[in-house]
């Protein structure tokens, strides 16, 4: 599945919710279910300090594809991280570096990625892209 197809799949999943609370119910479930970062990787150098919630991000390159694991102390943040990882994992560094992650806006979660939101997610996406860019240039 291409990155674009993965985004469209998520948009379709969210299309069934016409109520905000149902949407968040789903995000919370994703946050509870998704396998997250290895505890040994929850180190300070992987910590992205937001004003509201904290995010840990570990990046890896395996067979030329980017691998991300992440965690947060807030479950909604965690759920959104799960969506981002689902879209970006196993993609070429170059694809990630140039990816337009429009699905977040399409499913109505743009506020969480706004740089002023200060929940660490905007910085996390930036870090994901930077690490991909680094992998391209190596």
């Amino acid at each position: 599945m291409t990155l674009e197809e993965k985004q469209n799949e998520i948009i379709d999943e969210f299309a069934v919710f016409d109520d905000w609370m149902d949407k968040y119910e789903y995000i919370i479930e994703l946050g509870k279910e998704l396998p997250m970062i290895d505890p040994s990787k929850k180190t300070d150098d992987r910590l992205i300090e937001g004003c509201q919630s904290r995010v840990w991000l570990a990046t890896d390159v395996k067979d030329g594809k980017m691998q991300f694991t992440a965690d947060s102390d807030a479950i909604i943040t965690k759920g959104i991280i799960g969506l981002l990882i689902r879209v970006l994992n196993n993609e070429d560094p170059k694809t990630i570096a140039t990816a337009d992650l429009h699905f977040i806006g399409d499913i109505g979660l743009q506020e969480h990625l706004s740089p002023t939101r200060a929940n660490g997610l905007a910085s996390m996406v930036q870090k994901m892209k930077l690490s991909a860019l680094k992998a391209v240039t190596v």
């Binding site: 905000w20 609370m21 968040y24 119910e25 919370i28 509201q52 919630s53 102390d73 479950i75 909604i76």
Partner: protein, 412 residues
């Protein structure tokens, strides 16, 4: 008097009708605005005054010979006079327009701070907003002064015995919040001011959370400086007030240089304008000042005793309802509290709770409320804070409690 009776005497619906922003839906639900500690909504007379200023009277003040300039100057200075009377300042030149509480504290920390020497001591408290911590830290770095902190107890009350021990002839400034933004604690500032004066220290009161809840009489308090923000007292953003005793302000050097604050400028020597202009460099926030004057006019029409009683009833009702929720803990349980409820819920992150409340139309604040030392003291990352104004209602608290219960169910 129970809540219903006070409401009748107080006519909350009549008050609400003057705040257009309260009457709207968000995410398809009626807005419940409980973030008054961060900023308040504006009554129509404030909005109209700003609209009128920019539609008709817009002009630079103090210097113009023309009609509009004189009109704008008159309104701006009338606003100063109104605010002077409202806080009972003896002289209008003791009432300085600033950019807000933060601007006022920085002005005093810099300018009054210039008169301090190495080893002089400044006392603040453990419940201060960052705005009443960092300017003093900057001063301490600049002048090699010593910052001392009055500790708090588990209820979020100042330990006054510890304050007594911190006071000494070296104490030059005690800068303390009137009402804590994170905990709601009302501090015994009269006692603090008296004790500080007894050792010859000056006192700055951070009134950012006070003027909207209580009457402030700077002469009765006998404080040396009192600061507050326009936007938290139903006025516009970007404007605030610093009250300072004339003899202190006269002795202090200017904070910023520029237009309006000078008497005569030559390259050899510049002389400064008199108070209040000495501390008001540059074109001020004219519409902000006028708007703040209108907000004070609005407050004048209210019976602040009734306001306080009504807000206390809202607080008591909200706290009683919150405490029925399993695993909920109030942060800030001082005996004297204003209408601020900070709380945490076992195992839940405040950000998650706040996000779900938002989607149900409830506006609260989550996080550390710019008081990280308070959060460190309670060993928590932050709280969920509902802060009520006199335009809030018991029905809104019911909606909030219902939404909170649903949020907790979803997150557990």
């Amino acid at each position: 008097m129970n809540v219903q009776e006070t409401m009748a005497a107080f006519d909350v619906e009549q008050i609400r009708s003057q705040f257009p922003a309260l009457n709207q839906t968000v995410y398809g639900r009626q807005l419940v605005y409980f973030d008054n500690g961060a900023t308040s909504q504006k009554p129509q007379i404030v909005i109209d005054a700003i609209d009128h200023y920019y539609s008709k009277d817009n002009s630079n003040i103090h210097r113009g010979v023309h009609y509009l300039s004189q009109l704008a100057t008159q309104q701006y200075e009338d606003a100063r006079g109104r605010i002077q009377k409202y806080i009972n300042a003896p002289l209008s030149e003791e009432v300085l327009f600033t950019t807000g509480t933060t601007g006022g504290i920085n002005l005093v920390a810099f300018s009054f701070g210039e008169t301090l020497n190495e080893g002089d001591e400044i006392i603040i408290s453990a419940m201060e907003h960052h705005s009443n911590i960092v300017p003093w830290q900057l001063l301490c770095e600049r002048k090699k002064c010593v910052l001392k902190v009055i500790p708090i107890n588990q209820k979020g009350e100042l330990l006054l015995d510890a304050f007594d021990e911190l006071l000494s002839p070296r104490t030059k400034m005690v800068a303390i919040t009137h009402i804590s933004n994170a905990l709601g604690t009302i501090n015994p500032i009269e006692e603090i001011i008296e004790k500080a004066h007894a050792v010859g220290a000056k006192v700055l009161i951070d009134g950012a959370q006070s003027v909207q809840h209580t009457t402030v009489d700077v002469q009765a308090l006998n404080c040396d400086f009192y600061v507050f923000s326009g936007h938290k007292v139903f006025g516009p953003t970007g404007v605030g007030i610093l009250y300072g005793k004339k003899e202190l302000l006269d002795a202090m050097p200017p904070y910023q240089g520029g237009g309006d604050m000078i008497a005569k400028v030559t390259f050899e020597k510049t002389t400064y304008n008199e108070l209040p202009h000495k501390f008001e460099a540059g074109t001020p926030n004219i519409s902000g000042g006028i708007g703040l004057g209108k907000a004070i006019e609005f407050l004048e029409q209210l019976d602040m005793k009734a306001v306080q009683q009504y807000e206390t009833e809202l607080l008591n009702y909200a706290q009683a309802e919150l405490l029925k929720i399993a695993g909920l803990q109030l942060i800030g349980t001082a005996a004297h509290k204003t209408s601020v409820v900070s709380f945490i819920v076992d195992g839940l992150h405040p950000f998650d709770v706040g996000t779900l409340l938002d989607k149900q139309g409830i506006a609260v604040r989550t996080g550390h409320h710019c008081t990280q030392p308070v959060m460190d003291f309670f060993k928590i990352p932050g709280t969920i804070r509902a802060s009520f104004a006199f335009y809030n209602t018991k029905e809104e608290i019911d909606l909030f409690i219902k939404a909170l219960k649903r949020s907790i169910e979803m997150l557990r």
